[in-house]
Subunit: 404 residues, 2 copies
């Protein structure tokens, strides 16, 4: 029987980690916290803090004249995101609105191009994706098919539009984006929220995508989302939301809306300047680290966590749900346990391992590569086994039941 890696092995991995120094860019005022929820909300870097301060300074100093630079933000930061994280070309990505609103816009626009056919996704897709698609399908008189699984969704007959999450928000499973893109006859809109900034993405040939900036990109709570449209499709698409930032001439006197050329037509209202500047600064960190190195570290951290889960947690009732091949997962690990909810609460409240719970029985642990070390991962798994072995979560469970 192979012994599981000891703490010294984790320290050795950190010593050899080319990204180790980035951890100090995300100082934690609570040093004992093991923050494994960067897959939900990424942490604040000094880069973003300084970027926000600079944007606030521009507002103070230049006031309305700041728009001379701000007006380019959605596309300029979109171009950086395209280049650094998405494998997309300049002019294919826009930073704007929320993931929900972006998916809504793209789904409507896509159905204009496919006048027949159903809208499909899988029942495990992220809730907002399912809701948006159901609503768009209803508004457009299309059938909405909620397949049992991704495999089922891929085989829905007569699909006009298919929405898939690149990395599943619960299980952490990563799909073969390139293979599905090449094989699908439907237009596919990818939700990259749980993969962007965790693994390198190559959107070559993909039609449509959306995603958020507040998870692995660390751009801040409610930070702006992005959308991607393949260049060749852009001038055929019309946004259902005809806003002044998507109009060819923003202050035109004429009555008629005329969409701007290219990706700009998918803008709606005034862009969120401060938050987009935060994303710009967050991308400085990504640029310095490089997505290939970030993805390698995500694989290394999740490997360690899965190995320790097998060694220590299986006997405590945990099951590793996340795929075991690093190319088939993102940067979070999902552990199934019948008591996942009280365990998650106990970890947060008693030993400051901050993960999160997803219905019905999943404990999610996110290993955000820029600020989580192998030692952090080792310590977290160690705290989990100690806490669950001692039954501490049962006290929490009793408390939670008394409250509700």
């Amino acid at each position: 029987v192979t012994q599981p890696p000891d703490r010294a092995s984790a320290e050795a991995l950190d010593a050899a980690d080319p990204l180790a120094a980035f951890r100090s860019r995300f100082p934690d005022p609570e040093p004992d916290r093991l923050y494994l929820d960067g897959n939900s909300l990424g942490r604040l870097s000094t880069d973003v803090e300084h970027g926000l301060a600079a944007a606030i300074g521009t507002w103070r100093t230049r006031a309305v004249e700041g728009w001379a630079e701000w007006v380019e933000l959605p596309r300029r930061v979109g171009d950086r995101l395209a280049d650094l994280c998405l494998g997309a070309a300049p002019g294919e990505v826009l930073v704007t609105d929320s993931t929900t609103v972006n998916l809504y816009k793209l789904a409507h626009a896509a159905l204009d191009l496919r006048p027949q056919g159903v809208v499909a996704t899988d029942a495990d897709n992220f809730p907002t994706d399912r809701y948006v698609l159901e609503g768009v399908a209803a508004a457009r008189g299309r059938r909405f098919v909620l397949a049992d699984s991704v495999e089922g969704a891929l085989q829905v007959p007569d699909a006009a539009l298919l929405c898939l999450s690149h990395v599943d928000y619960r299980t952490g499973r990563r799909l073969d984006l390139g293979g599905i893109t090449r094989a699908s006859e439907a237009m596919v809109v990818w939700d990259l929220s749980h993969s962007v900034g965790a693994v390198a993405i190559d959107l070559s040939g993909a039609d449509l995508a959306v995603g958020c900036s507040y998870k692995y990109l660390n751009a801040g709570p409610g930070g702006p989302a992005f959308l991607y449209v393949r260049r060749e499709l852009q001038d055929a698409l019309t946004s259902p939301v005809r806003g002044w930032f998507g109009q060819r001439d923003q202050f035109a006197m004429g009555p008629a809306y005329e969409p701007a050329p290219g990706i700009d037509r998918l803008m709606a209202g005034t862009p969120p300047v401060l938050a987009t500047t935060a994303l710009d600064a967050a991308l400085d960190v990504v640029a310095e680290a490089g997505m290939a190195a970030i993805e390698r570290k995500a694989a290394s951290l999740t490997d360690l966590a899965i190995t320790l889960a097998d060694a220590w947690l299986a006997e405590l009732g945990f099951e590793v749900v996340t795929p075991r091949s690093p190319t088939e997962r993102g940067a979070h690990v999902a552990l199934r346990h019948p008591e996942a909810w009280p365990i998650c609460r106990a970890l947060i409240e008693r030993v400051r391992v901050v993960g999160d719970f997803r219905q019905p029985d999943i404990l999610r642990l996110g290993f955000s590569p820029l600020y989580i070390s192998h030692t952090d991962a080792w310590d977290a798994m160690d705290r989990i086994r100690t806490l669950v072995a001692a039954g501490v979560h049962r006290d929490i469970d009793a408390q939670l039941r008394r409250v509700t």
Copy 2:
């Protein structure tokens, strides 16, 4: 002939101004600038700067656990806005998305309630309003009527939905919101972008409204917008954008979207936390000053500006377009001049009077009551007359022509 007020009169008005002290809350690093564009982008207050710093600190310290307080922001800040600025009840206002997206959501939702009838607005309404409505009408198979004037829009036969700006973005004309609300058979959606924070608004009985936070509310560039829905209408409305923040149970496993009760159903994606916190802090300033006092000062500043325009600028070819009764205008004054464009550029570049230009011939001057003094207004008008009398704008015009 009455002499126009001299500078000492303006100083006397400032000495008696109960809001004079608020000016120091908006320190200007460029002391000679006369910033008359708060109707486009309001200035940074120390309150908002501290509010943003606190929100950034919460992100740093609490990270994902910050959501315990952030999740309430859209409604909590909406309730404050309702109370302080809008004459609306708790639970009637939500801070979310952009004005464009909010108008889009409300227009679609309103047409669900009015299965027949046309969509109308006036040709002078703000561009994004016209574009959004045109698009919604087209999507819903309704006729879209762009009336020549507000009066024409009020008389469009068979109007299901009418959109009006409370204060016109160019002329500064303010409509009788209460009177029109009572008289209209159409559902009216008010765009309050150019009046909120400038004049006290009473939405009693009004059906629908939207507006932005980055003008007189001073919440920052691209700050979040708001929407208002009369309580009695809320549970009959469905947002076209079915997002997870508008769902009854955000993380529900079930496939079906079920709208949250009340105003929450009009939320879509993850709310912009930092920007909404900025608005919360901006409202602290409004609360301290009081909207009645703010509106009184807006009237006093624009009175002074109009008096000086009549005395000094009429003979230089300017026409005051803004109504002369303070109850019929907001806090900006529109001056028509055939050379408005080069005059606007020359004022900004040569004498740091920062106003703005609107097609085809309007110079807009905004007198944001919290940080503009009567002396500022006097000085600005004085700089305008001196510059135009000397023909400085003609040099600028020649330059602009060379560039293009």
